[in-house]
């Protein structure tokens, strides 16, 4: 028995060694590939991979830039999750925003891409510009603070007062009750982003003959066509769009910070990233801020995996 096991082990290591040798030879042959990839790989590791690793490391330390980092184990996480009420508000708000604007924005992106797909060519290109413009217009969204101004001269307030729905102007960005809904409205306005472009392009690439085969097989209306033909052939774009949407909806902070102020009343518009900003760049508690970043990163990874496996089932 013992001998047999040893034999297996030996065989295993032999195989390993062989594989390594093959890989080494392959690497030597494709030396040029590494030379081509090197500049990007080095910079990418430096500015994207290493920061994530460093961030995880610092999240276990107390670090305020002036003193060297001091290892404190899980303390950062413990105080984040158990003692920091404001962080819990942040998590709650981020989740609310992500759950509402994420799926809605994603569906909107696909819906509009799909609807404009059948328009004549030039109308379609105008429509793409119109729908995509809000997300590349920089911080044009601050114009919403004019529409939702807190006094009776704001557009929305005056309209609602004229209609007799409200008597007093609503302080949209100061009253905790209204902050999040208005921000979500603004985020939705900007949600037709990169994913939308990918959908528009993907829809153009769906094989026409598939549709014709579909008519023969008795596809009755556009909804059936959508579910049985269009969606399954768009799967790769749907995945890409999902990644983009998740990124966007979990990293909300610019909109809430610009519109509701920083800090906002009762921290009602605080998101995870706002909290990270607060600790990282106002209080310089880098270790703590890194713990926040790590939690955010983990949340995005989990959601991303869940969504991807959900999307694999589309159209089946």
């Amino acid at each position: 028995m013992k001998e047999k096991q040893d034999g297996y082990l030996k065989k295993y290591f032999q195989l390993r060694k062989h594989n390594a040798q093959v890989a080494w030879k392959k690497m030597k042959v494709s030396k040029n590939c590494y030379i081509f990839l090197a500049p990007y790989a080095i910079l990418f590791t430096m500015f994207f991979v290493f920061p994530v690793v460093a961030s995880i490391y610092f999240s276990f330390t107390y670090y305020n830039i002036l003193e060297p980092p001091r290892f404190i184990g899980l303390n950062n996480y413990i105080s984040l999750l158990l003692e920091d009420d404001i962080f819990l508000i942040g998590i709650k708000n981020t989740l609310i925003i992500a759950v509402v604007t994420g799926p809605l924005g994603y569906i909107m992106s696909f819906l509009f891409a799909w609807l404009i797909n059948e328009l004549p060519r030039w109308v379609r290109s105008v429509a793409v510009v119109v729908f995509y413009a809000p997300s590349i217009a920089g911080n044009c969204y601050v114009i919403f603070s004019v529409f939702f101004r807190g006094d009776a001269y704001g557009w929305v307030n005056s309209m609602l007062m004229n209609l007799g729905i409200i008597d007093n102007p609503i302080l949209w960005f100061t009253n905790p009750k209204y902050m999040l809904p208005v921000c979500m409205l603004v985020i939705l306005w900007m949600s037709l982003g990169t994913g939308f472009l990918s959908f528009v392009a993907g829809l153009q690439g769906v094989d026409r003959s598939m549709y014709e085969a579909g008519y023969m097989d008795g596809i009755k209306n556009r909804w059936q066509e959508l579910w049985f033909i269009t969606l399954p052939s768009m799967k790769p774009m749907l995945m890409f769009g999902a990644v983009m949407t998740i990124t966007q909806s979990f990293n909300v902070c610019d909109v809430t910070m610009q519109l509701c102020g920083y800090p906002s009343t009762d921290y009602a518009a605080r998101t995870i990233v706002t909290h990270l900003f607060d600790y990282g760049f106002s209080r310089f508690e880098m270790g703590y801020a890194c713990a926040i970043a790590t939690i955010l990163f983990l949340m995005m990874l989990i959601v991303n995996n869940a969504i991807q496996s959900l999307l694999r089932r589309v159209g089946t």
Partner: protein, 300 residues
């Protein structure tokens, strides 16, 4: 057939049908309802942007008029000229801010284009150990926005001594994962035979890359450029750059719009200046971008 009709047919043997053949499974009522819906949504989408542009064109008295008007009665470009005056009076001139932003945007985008394309080329066309794993990490990295990595990034740039230089903004922009991803996906569509033919003719990898591959992926260039420009143009860079003469245009403009009620008109002009550049680039390169995005799908 009448003589006239016959003559017409001889002159134009093929004429386009006025109404395109409709798909057989569509109802007219549905089409009309959809068009109506689309127009409505499109109006909602453009309204804030149109309003931003029109408030930039309003004279001061109209800006505070109530009820507000969507279009200015006497449009003026005073807000824009005032912007120049205000910036002209600051001790760093407007042209310097503009230069900073344009310089960072141009260098960052050019470097990103070259470096990301080189990486994308080998990832798309060669099979080498580690290539697939590396690409997986890149796709994962598309999920990090600047915020998650902001703090360690600051430390790294500090260690490199790049704080308060242009490089703090430019070099990280080289490695943006989005560009590499889109480029690689697009390059996979290039026929491998093209590269092999060039190799048989005696071209080495560099020649293949610069003379065969790059000219053939021009649509993807435009896409990389717009994503990179969009990021760099809107970069406030306030965490990395402290000296006034190196600050970006967006930062300077932001300072102006903080100037209170009297600067309302200028603030509106600022919004327009900042948003107009990415939108114009997008309008001119739309078809190329869409061509690139067609290959953007994530396969498992």
């Amino acid at each position: 057939m009448s003589k006239k009709r016959k003559k017409e047919l001889e002159e134009k043997p093929y004429h386009k049908p006025l109404v395109k053949r409709r798909k057989p499974n569509r109802s007219i009522a549905g089409d009309i309802a959809l068009y109506f819906f689309l127009v409505l949504v499109a109006l909602i989408m453009v309204f804030p942007i149109v309003y931003a542009v029109s408030s930039a064109l309003k004279p001061l008295d109209e800006l505070f008029m109530f009820p507000p008007r969507i279009f200015p009665r006497n449009p003026t470009i005073n807000n824009f000229t005032d912007l120049f005056v205000t910036l002209g009076k600051s001790w760093v001139t407007f042209s310097r801010y503009l230069f900073n932003t344009v310089f960072m945007t141009a260098v960052g985008t050019a470097g990103h284009l070259i470096i990301a394309s080189m990486g994308a080329f080998v990832l798309a066309k060669y099979d080498f150990p580690g290539g697939k794993a590396f690409f997986k990490i890149v796709t994962l990295a598309m999920m990090f926005t600047g915020y998650v990595t902001a703090i360690p990034n600051y430390m790294i740039i500090n260690k490199l001594g790049w704080i308060d230089t242009y490089w703090a903004i430019i070099i990280p922009a080289f490695a943006s994962p989005m560009g590499l991803f889109l480029m690689k996906q697009f390059m996979e569509g290039l026929p491998t035979s093209l590269i092999e033919a060039a190799k048989i003719d005696g071209a080495n990898e560099w020649k293949v890359f610069f003379q065969i591959v790059m000219p053939n992926v021009k649509p993807a260039w435009m896409t990389l450029i717009i994503f990179s420009v969009q990021g760099l143009w809107n970069n406030r860079a306030s965490t990395f750059i402290y000296s006034e003469e190196k600050k970006t245009l967006v930062f300077a403009l932001g300072q102006i719009s903080l100037g209170g009620i009297a600067r309302t008109g200028q603030a509106a002009a600022v919004l327009v200046v900042v948003m107009i550049v990415p939108i114009i680039i997008f309008i001119f390169s739309e078809s190329q971008i869409l061509e690139t995005m067609a290959s953007s799908g994530l396969k498992d």
